[in-house]
């Protein structure tokens, strides 16, 4: 495993408080006025040149939000968020770019530094079967570039910023937006519905296998700015798409709010594979700064034989509140959730999934691996439920927690509800520590302490990493080791 050596080298090369993506880009920004109000929402909607119904939808959400209370059932503690002190819209001043040459070079540089290719690299025929990924890059509140659009369009695939989709494909957006995560779903989703500024929109037509992986890369740059992106992916009958999401933010002493909503819709025989590597700034070793990540992600297996698979690698954020879920509505539909949640320092993670079995013979599988180090707290919270009509529903859940050191915590909170006697739900959970004996065994063979820990952790998360597209898996593996730096010894 060459990655082990690489990760060890990387871990050695950086000190505890260093977060590789913590740099800031200096660029002229246009912002809404501070705080949230109907005026601010009108401002955002006007900026996006949205249809009237969209503005009404937002305002309706905002009015609902005002009546709602911030949820407090998760096992996380944080200072109260002052919603009036945030900026809800921040965009680079330059006009939306038609080609890469028009994008502010500072932004291009930012993505280059992050290792995200915005230039479509020509792939020579017959040489290097290079894997190509179409990227939508979201910088604070707006999408700054989307690559490979023309090629995707040839296959009939729509991949564009949601703000653009609202103008170009309003009927599609209107039909599906809020159909999986209703406007009133929860405090953060409702807030997002009111003020979301951009995100990605994907539509795969019937029978089409998306010719390349699609990816969105989110970057929060601006200070005191919340990021509220909205992603909507629709896989029409018999189609397939694999989608990747990545995120980073600069290092700052104050906390920043990220409240995204992701909705997936899979129609008959369609399949969506959604992978996330979440690497928001986690705060420093003392718990100063870091992103508050309150995200609602839900997939609807609306059609028969449809399949939605969530894979997430969570290493960043000061607070993670996130439960990517599947509604298994179509008969024989399948939901999967593969998760690696790593917490170190003072990070708090409350994450898991919900598998709602509604259709007949629906199946789901949950594999969750929590790794806690430092003084962090890591909670798995999951719900598996079977509706009266969900005859033959089956779930398999496996939650494993690994503790590194003795000041961290791991918690598992599974909820299981079955209203159908034929449902079969299995739940397995383990909590282990990296044993001193295992470590000694590795050391006796010549591995250093860091190498031994990296190896054992990689082994622990292996079955989840295998679910990720290959390049992503290598990245994720490095990321996990970096996140655990300073936890050894």
């Amino acid at each position: 495993m060459p990655a082990v050596q690489e990760t060890v080298d990387r871990v050695r090369a950086i000190d505890v408080d260093q977060y590789k993506y913590g740099f800031e880009t200096t660029i002229e920004m246009e912002k809404s006025e501070k705080g949230i109000s109907e005026d601010v929402i009108r401002f955002i909607s006007a900026k996006k040149d949205e249809p009237e119904w969209m503005l009404e939808w937002r305002l309706d959400a905002y009015r609902r939000w005002l009546t709602m209370k911030e949820p407090n059932w998760a096992r996380v503690e944080y200072d109260k968020i002052n919603y009036d002190e945030l900026y809800y819209y921040a965009a680079p001043k330059r006009k939306a770019a038609q080609s890469l040459d028009e994008i502010d070079p500072e932004i291009l540089k930012t993505y280059e530094k992050l290792g995200i290719p915005l230039r479509e690299v020509e792939v020579l025929e017959g040489i290097a079967p290079e894997r190509r990924v179409a990227v939508d890059a979201v910088f604070d509140s707006v999408s700054v570039a989307t690559t490979f659009k023309a090629e995707l369009a040839k296959a009939g695939v729509i991949f564009m910023p949601i703000s653009e989709a609202l103008r170009e494909h309003p009927e599609l957006v209107r039909k599906y937006l809020g159909s999986v995560v209703p406007v009133t779903d929860n405090y953060f989703a409702t807030l997002n519905s009111a003020v979301f500024s951009d995100g990605s929109f994907v539509y795969i037509p019937p029978g089409v296998r998306c010719p390349m992986e699609l990816s969105t890369y989110f970057r929060i740059n601006e200070r005191d700015t919340g990021q509220f992106e909205r992603t909507l992916i629709i896989a029409d009958k018999g189609s397939y798409v694999s989608y990747l999401e990545g995120c980073t933010a600069p290092k700052r002493d104050d906390n920043q709010l990220h409240a995204a909503v992701v909705e997936l819709v899979a129609l008959d025989d369609a399949e969506i594979k959604y992978s996330t590597v979440q690497n928001w700034y986690p705060g420093d070793a003392e718990g100063r700064g870091g992103i508050y990540n309150f995200v609602t992600k839900r997939g609807d297996c609306r059609g028969a034989n449809s399949k939605i698979s969530w894979t997430q690698v969570e290493t960043g954020s000061a607070i993670t509140w996130k439960y990517p879920s599947c509604i298994l509505r179509g008969d024989n539909s399948r939901g999967e959730f593969y998760s690696i949640a790593v917490s170190n320092g003072m990070q708090q993670v409350d994450s898991g999934t919900k598998m709602i079995h509604l259709g007949k013979n629906t199946t789901s599988r949950i594999i969750s691996k929590g790794i806690s180090a430092g003084r962090s707290q890591n909670t798995y919270r999951g719900l598996v439920s079977a509706h009266k009509k969900a005859k033959g529903a089956r779930n398999f859940t496996n939650c494993d927690s690994l503790l590194i050191g003795d000041q961290c915590g791991a918690h598992t909170v599974p909820y299981i509800e079955s209203k159908n006697a034929s449902a079969v739900f299995e739940h397995e959970a383990t909590t282990s520590k990296i044993s001193e004996d295992q470590k000694f065994y590795c050391l006796q063979r010549g591995l250093s302490e860091e190498e031994a820990t990296a190896l054992i952790v990689n082994g622990f998360v292996r079955d989840v990493l295998q679910q990720l597209p290959m390049e992503f898996a290598v990245e994720a593996q490095k990321l996990i080791s970096i996140s655990l730096e300073g936890s050894v010894g």
């Binding site: 000694f440 006796q444 591995l447 082994g459």
Partner: protein, 250 residues
């Protein structure tokens, strides 16, 4: 050459090794026998550098260098190898992955280049064939779900691949059936060499019929109380450890 001089070791304030001295020359196979609780396994762990053992006095010199000051991984790179009585399972880590990581880690410590994949594969397959370890076993996670015999063969495979200077076999015969004992012993015998020595820890004479030692040492109460040639093992087999237990009681 490994020289142990007046080794005194405690675990949690309890004296386990009490002034143990022992010399194993290059190319020599030394057997250590003794009743339960005489400190045999502690000796193997202290040589390999496991923490939790408090070394109060003495030295362990490998070719004149005191290894007690080295970390466990540095000792491994210097050529100390311990075949565990109970090899550890490492879930999710493929056997090949582990072998490569270990071999390259030691090479790196010694300032050598990493092995190329083809070289690595050739070495592993050649050594595995001798120990009747099939390819399927190499694909599994290290020691996970292995039988007792498979685990011990895996230890010897690692010993062969890491080419150590000094090998400690801690009750390698425990849990082995006749066939596995033969395979493991042949594996060890094949590694006997001029510049390599062995410390074979065992309760039973049985293993020493297969791995014939040059010297036999009896341990009791944390020190070597009797040394002799291979015939000493036969005597012990006949008379048992009663004599040494009596000493303990006295």
């Amino acid at each position: 050459m490994l020289e142990i001089k007046n080794l005194v070791v405690n675990i949690e304030d309890k004296r386990i090794l009490n002034g143990l001295s022992l010399t194993v020359n290059d190319g020599e196979v030394a057997a250590i026998m003794g009743p339960n609780g005489s400190g045999k396994s502690t000796l193997s762990y202290v040589i390999a550098g496991k923490e939790d053992y408090e070394v109060l006095d003495g030295e362990i010199l490998l070719d004149g260098e005191n290894i007690l000051e080295m970390e466990a991984d540095a000792r491994a790179a210097a050529g100390i190898f311990l075949a565990f009585q109970y090899p550890l399972e490492i879930p999710g880590v493929g056997t090949m992955t582990f072998l490569k990581a270990a071999m390259n880690a030691q090479r790196k410590t010694r300032g050598e280049d990493e092995l190329t994949t083809p070289d690595f594969m050739r070495q592993v397959f050649a050594a595995a064939d001798k120990l009747e370890i099939n390819r399927e076993m190499l694909k599994r996670a290290l020691n996970v779900g292995f039988s007792g015999g498979e685990k011990k063969r895996m230890e010897i495979l690692q010993m062969a691949l890491l080419s150590p200077r000094f090998c400690v076999l801690d009750e390698t015969d425990s849990g082995l059936d006749i066939d596995a004992l033969r395979i493991v012993s042949e594996g060890v015998n094949a590694l006997r060499a001029q510049n390599r020595s062995f410390l074979v820890i065992t309760h039973y004479q049985r293993l020493l019929n297969h791995i014939v030692p040059d010297t036999v040492h009896v341990m009791a109460q944390g020190r070597v109380v009797k040394s002799g040639g291979k015939e000493l093992a036969l005597e012990l087999e006949a008379s048992g450890y009663a004599e040494y237990r009596a000493n303990e009681a006295a």
